[in-house]
């Protein structure tokens, strides 16, 4: 067994370390493969199938994010089958989910010529509207694509709190707490690591949600300043998002060794005191 594998990506040989995925190989070869449920810091959930590629010899398409590249594999990322699958997946999501706060998906839909209007009004999986049951973040299941990222971040991949799960099945599947209790009554510790990984804004910090509702959320004028959290000695990096002289959101860089994008309730939400007394709050 060799330590390096050579994979053909769209006719170009790419050499990757053993254990690398097809997605790794594509990225190493400079080939763009769209992803949705995949995130570097999480276990591939394999759920969205947007990264499907064609591997010669395989009956079905394969998910690039989780399939380990094998020596001699011949991969096609732009074949008719691949483009059809991606277009349909994007259409399905566009028809069933509110993607207004998922600009990357909207761009991908345009790029693949996805037309969600073909499915008519109504129908699709049943969804519900935004749940505002606490001061820190909001859940809008109408925007949920069921990528499993939040469940993974709450569970084995980051927080180990296990406050949320996928409940029910099929078209009725949804992210839920036990018996759908409100978040403050669940095991949730409000670290917001689920919010950090949500690709569509189905999970959104309260400030952003309220400002968007009021029409005052303007990402283009926000500045992002990297600093180190002062609450304890761990040394988590913070990205402080500031608009009009006020902190509006705090995140953490996914590529930071200490946090991998995760924070605790203090780091992510404990900043309201910064403006205390300044604007009368």
């Amino acid at each position: 067994m060799t330590d390096r594998h050579t994979v053909q990506i769209d006719g170009v040989a790419v050499v990757v370390e053993a254990g690398a995925t097809i997605l790794d190989a594509c990225r190493a070869g400079g080939v763009d493969v769209p992803t949705l449920c995949y995130l570097e810091t999480l276990t591939p959930a394999n759920a969205c199938r947007l990264c499907s590629v064609e591997v010669e010899g395989s009956r079905t398409l394969v998910p690039a994010c989780s399939r380990i590249a094998e020596d001699g594999m011949v991969v096609h990322t732009g074949s008719d089958r691949v483009r059809h699958a991606r277009r349909m997946i994007l259409e399905f999501l566009g028809a069933a989910v509110d993607l207004t706060t998922a600009p990357e998906l909207l761009e991908a839909m345009a790029a693949y010529g996805a037309d969600p209007s073909r499915y008519g009004a109504g129908g699709g999986s049943p969804r519900s509207s935004a749940v505002v049951d606490n001061d820190l973040y909001v859940r809008d299941l109408d925007k949920c694509v069921l990528c499993y990222r939040c469940v993974e971040a709450c569970g084995d991949d980051a927080q180990h709190t296990y406050a949320i799960t996928i409940a029910d099945r099929g078209a009725g599947a949804r992210v839920a707490t036990e018996f759908d209790v409100a978040l403050p009554d669940s095991a949730c510790v409000f670290c917001g690591n689920c919010v950090a990984v949500c690709p569509t804004g189905a999970l959104m910090v309260r400030t952003e949600f309220d400002m968007r509702a009021a029409g005052t959320w303007h990402e283009d004028v926000q500045t992002v300043t990297r600093t180190v959290c002062g609450y304890c000695g761990v040394g988590c990096n913070l990205d402080v998002h500031v608009q009009d002289g006020a902190i509006v959101k705090v995140t953490s860089p996914f590529d930071h060794d200490v946090t991998s994008g995760n924070l605790c309730i203090k780091g992510r939400f404990g900043w309201t005191h910064v403006r205390a007394g300044v604007d009368g709050s």
């Binding site: 591939p44 394999n46 759920a47 969205c48 199938r49 947007l50 499907s52 079905t60 398409l61 998910p63 989780s66 399939r67 380990i68 089958r81 059809h84 699958a85 349909m88 997946i89 399905f92 999501l93 028809a95 069933a96 073909r118 499915y119 008519g120 129908g123 699709g124 999986s125 694509v145 069921l146 180990h160 296990y162 406050a163 949320i164 799960t165 996928i166 409940a167 029910d168 099945r169 099929g170 078209a171 009725g172 599947a173 839920a176 707490t177 036990e178 018996f179 209790v181 009554d185 669940s186 095991a187």
Partner: protein, 584 residues
């Protein structure tokens, strides 16, 4: 793991139900009496979490005894198994036979699938709605739900009844009176044979509860031979026989056994997939009910051949009679030394554990079945890695269908014709619906004739809902594993006579997949819904063939598992044959 428990507290009855499976709690850490020492010594942890696989049996116990699963009961389950409440809820809501909403003691699941709905089920719905109330409502003692195929197509219409504290029962040829009172019938097996019987040889001839009768009719000859010639020779025999999986995927059984046997793993497992749920299919149920020792012997041989010392039988939750037969057979085999630490004095240890499904078609998919046994939602895994290297509990695992194991027994016992026989399930508009055992090469027309198809059917669905409708010329094609034979699927043959509303039938198939998709991957979760909607528009007069084809392509190409990959087969074949939507 630090688990936050729901505020509600379990009742004594609920605790008793859970303790029935887990035994009484021994420390305050797992929900028992808090002892002085518990303040100093923590117990549970890994040991408790290693019992996660008992989650589904515990949920079954609550459903069986109480009739539903309350938040208090979930809290106690969390304490006992150290499983987070949200995960327990996620698992419980995945399965059709578990209720997390307060429910009356009796739940009637009335089959609404393609065979039963053309055999009186629809009239029964009306009657139930009149007496009990609308679907899902309660009259204080009963509630009722429509169900997907219950695997009783030889005695349609069928129902499955869960009665809290009293057990579960199947009602065949259901009507209101029989739903209220009928005990489980000890019915005669409905079957026929073309050629010599192999798999059905004991049907009606040997008492399925009698081990001596099984042995007197050739039983356990195969296991003795296997122990004599050794695992390698057994695998070679099965390989040479050409036996292929009878569950639908038709994978060569010998190759599967060889792959598991060749692994280096210290522990390997064998699983009997008895979660038969394909609409129109009931052969495995009949085998388990009529010849349960053959299933037990087959799994023992598979264990011996692959080097596994433990086997699981995952039996469909809607099959109480089959389950009871298997439980009794396992007990008898243990008592007779045919299972246990030293099978037949050979030094080979083998144990079988029976697990019950809880109402999810997807759990017949082998990796979903693993997830279900392990105590998780029955969502299929990505393959590779394959079960033969990373299966149940991460161990190399050989999964075989009930009929496959029964055939393997006959093959190892050198029964003539053993490798060349197949069970078909003929139902719908035929005189004598039932299992037909026939050699490969038989045609669908011959199967229909044996089952007494008086009039030529207007359509035949072959292989189950995941199979397809046959063109008239295909009725005379010799059946086998190679083209031009249509894929055998589960071996279901459902005939629809003149006068059947095929629009209704095909829409019901689309509804089936919409209902049974696990919801994990986008192509299947959304595709099955959009296929269903587009089909309804097509039936109403709109030309949706192009869209349905496009949906079919993405489901076939990009779904995680076989459910999504085959969810469009029947629908697209019906459209291609002009069976649906008038003459479009």
């Amino acid at each position: 793991m630090d688990i936050r428990l729901p505020a509600a507290v379990a009742t004594d009855d609920e605790r008793r139900a859970v303790d029935r499976i887990l035994g009484p709690p021994t420390t305050g850490w797992e929900g028992g009496e808090r002892r002085r020492v518990d303040g100093h010594v923590a117990t549970g942890g890994h040991a408790a979490r290693a019992r996660r696989h008992l989650l589904l049996p515990v949920l079954h116990a609550l459903q069986d005894d109480i009739g539903w699963i309350s938040d208090g009961a979930v809290g106690y389950v969390c304490e006992r198994l150290v499983v987070p409440a949200a995960e327990v809820y996620g698992v419980a809501t995945f399965y059709g036979l578990l209720s997390v909403a307060e429910a009356p003691p009796v739940a009637i699941h009335l089959c609404d699938d393609i065979v039963c709905r053309t055999a009186g089920a629809k009239e029964l719905f009306t009657a139930l709605a009149d007496t009990v109330g609308p679907e899902g409502s309660s009259d204080g003692s009963r509630t009722w739900h429509r169900s997907n195929c219950l695997g009783q197509c030889d005695a349609a219409p069928a129902a499955f009844v869960q009665a809290a504290g009293e057990g579960r029962r199947t009602v065949i040829r259901a009507d209101l009176d029989r739903l209220a009172a009928a005990p489980t019938d000890d019915r005669e097996p409905a079957y026929a044979v073309i050629g010599d019987p192999v798999l059905t040889a004991r049907f009606g001839a040997a008492d399925p509860g009698d081990l001596d009768a099984y042995r007197a009719s050739g039983g356990y000859v195969a296991l003795r031979r296997a122990l004599e010639i050794g695992p390698d020779a057994v695998v070679a025999i099965v390989e040479a026989s050409g036996l292929r999986g009878r569950g639908g995927a038709a994978f060569p059984t010998g190759r599967k056994w060889r792959a598991v046997a060749d692994t280096e793993a210290a522990e390997r497992l064998v699983v009997c997939n008895a979660d038969e749920s394909e609409p129109g299919t009931f052969k495995d149920r009949m085998l388990m009910e009529r010849d349960p020792f053959a299933v037990v012997e087959g799994l023992t041989i598979a264990g011996h051949a692959t080097g596994a010392t433990k086997g699981f039988i995952y039996v469909r939750g809607e099959y109480p009679d089959a389950e009871n037969r298997l439980v009794a057979a396992i007990e008898e085999a243990e008592a007779a030394g045919l299972l246990g630490d030293d099978v037949l004095g050979s030094g080979f240890p083998f144990h079988i554990e029976l697990r019950r499904g809880a109402g999810a078609y997807i759990c017949g998919e082998e990796t979903a079945l693993f997830e279900s046994i392990e105590g998780f939602r029955g969502e299929p895994r990505a393959k590779p890695p394959y079960p033969t290297t990373d299966g149940l509990f991460g161990r190399p695992t050989a999964v075989n269908n009930v009929e496959t194991l029964a055939a393997a027994v006959a093959i190892v016992a050198e029964v003539p014709g053993a490798a060349n026989t197949k069970l078909f399930c003929v139902s719908g508009h035929v005189e004598a619906p039932g299992v037909v055992e026939a050699p490969f090469g038989v045609t669908v027309r011959e199967l229909l004739t044996v089952a007494g198809s008086a009039r030529p059917p207007q359509a035949v669905l072959f292989g189950g809902a995941a199979g397809r409708f046959l063109a008239p010329a295909e009725l005379d094609v010799p059946l086998g594993y190679e083209p031009p034979s249509p894929p055998l699927g589960s071996g279901a043959v459902v005939a629809f006579g003149p006068g059947v509303d095929m629009d209704d039938v095909v829409q019901r198939i689309a509804e089936f997949f919409r209902d049974e998709s696990c919801g994990q991957c986008v192509p299947c979760r959304e595709g099955t819904v959009r296929q269903d909607e587009a089909l309804r528009r097509l039936v109403a007069g709109s030309d949706e063939r192009g869209l349905i084809d496009e949906i079919a392509r993405v489901m076939r190409d990009a779904s995680i598992c076989g459910l999504g990959q085959t969810a469009a087969e029947a629908v697209t074949s019906a459209i291609a044959l002009g069976l649906v939507g008038g003459a479009r």
